[in-house]
């Protein structure tokens, strides 16, 4: 076990990002897709905090950026769940493939 460096954290973040991408691509449940988005946002947050700790310690820029990402993710989740409820009420399913009313 060597010294833990920036690359280790970036690899974990890359794996999280890829699983989030896979979840967004394969799930057809709208809330499942939302879970994938949360995974992707978390991976970017790991990147922000790791860069903050290893490239500019004591500057706090990365940590504050991570804080704003958390705020935006909470807002996005609230809106997305409201939209999902509306979707379910109108189409009585949560399968995103059925939302075709806006298709030209």
């Amino acid at each position: 076990m060597g010294t833990i460096g920036l690359t280790h954290y970036l690899v974990v973040a890359a794996i999280l990002f890829c699983s989030g991408m896979f979840v967004m691509a394969t799930k057809r449940n709208a809330i499942g897709i939302l879970i994938g988005v949360e995974l992707v946002l978390n991976s970017t947050n790991i990147n922000f905090v790791a860069f903050d700790r290893y490239l500019g310690p004591g500057q706090l820029d990365g940590q504050i950026m991570a804080l704003f990402v958390i705020v935006l993710a909470a807002a996005e989740a609230a809106l997305a769940v409201a939209i999902c409820m509306n979707f379910y009420r109108n189409l009585s399913t949560i399968d995103v493939d059925h939302g075709t009313e806006l298709r030209g």
Binding site: C18, I35, V49, Y54, A74, M85
Partner: protein
């Protein structure tokens, strides 16, 4: 498709078709029911073990940080073997939870694995000496957003165990693209040399974050406040029951 909901009793579909006598059928169905119950019990045990393991790791990490703080050493001392062990444990938990989110079919299990992933990410923040962000991650993400997601599952399906499966072809395509992207990222990360420092990082003080939010980042801070209010009104409007 509405026919894809498998909330009620999937056991009927599993019953073998060749059996004709009622007694045989009853025995077979009982056996299947037992198997299903055992599988459920084992799954829950495994999940409980994962949660307990993660809580132990978190407690050890917090204890380590506290003792080191008492000795006047930073909690994120670089190069200590304990840090390496903790990192590999937490990173393994994180990756396993993320893969669990990919593999699971039911949304509730995905949410449980997402909880594992969010908790491990919070522990990673603690290892990176970002104490405040770790605490906020636990409170807002694991405490708020995840509960919101689970409420969304409850409100949008006839049964919480909804399954909407993608076809094999879609899974294969998505898996191939994801693995290719991961391999590209991996080679890129291994070839890059970062100009970073491995010196000890002092733990972040909350006062410094607050000061920075109210001086340098004042405008984004206020805009985030306005955005949160607009989102609150908008979500309440969208989720309203039409009369």
């Amino acid at each position: 498709m509405i026919g894809d909901f498998q909330g009620g009793a999937p056991l009927n579909r599993l019953r073998p078709r060749g059996l004709k006598h009622a007694a045989q059928r009853a025995v077979a169905s009982r056996g299947l029911k037992h198997a299903a119950q055992w599988r459920r019990v084992v799954t829950r045990l495994v999940m409980a073990c994962v949660v307990v393991l993660m809580m132990t790791v978190g407690a050890v990490a917090a204890d380590d940080a506290a003792t080191q703080d008492m000795r006047g050493v930073s909690s994120a001392e670089s190069g200590s073997p304990l840090e390496a062990v903790m990192f590999y444990l937490v990173a393994t938990g994180c990756v396993v939870s993320a893969i669990g989110v990919c593999v699971c079919k039911s949304v509730v299990r995905m949410a449980v694995f997402l909880f594992g992933a969010l908790g491990s990410v919070a522990l990673l923040y603690f290892l990176l000496a970002a104490n405040f962000i770790g605490a906020i991650q636990l409170i807002v993400y694991a405490g708020g957003t995840l509960i919101l997601l689970i409420f969304g599952v409850m409100l949008t399906s006839k049964s919480p165990w909804v399954r909407l499966d993608a076809s094999k072809l879609e899974m294969l395509g998505a898996g191939a693209v994801t693995l290719a992207f991961l391999a590209a990222l991996w080679t890129l990360l291994n070839r890059t040399v970062w100009p970073g420092t491995h010196a000890e990082a002092p733990g972040t003080s909350i006062a410094a974050i607050g000061e920075s939010l109210l001086t340098e980042y004042l405008v984004p801070f206020e805009v985030a406040g306005v955005l949160l209010m607009i989102v609150m009104v908008g979500a309440a409007h969208l989720a309203r029951q039409d009369k």
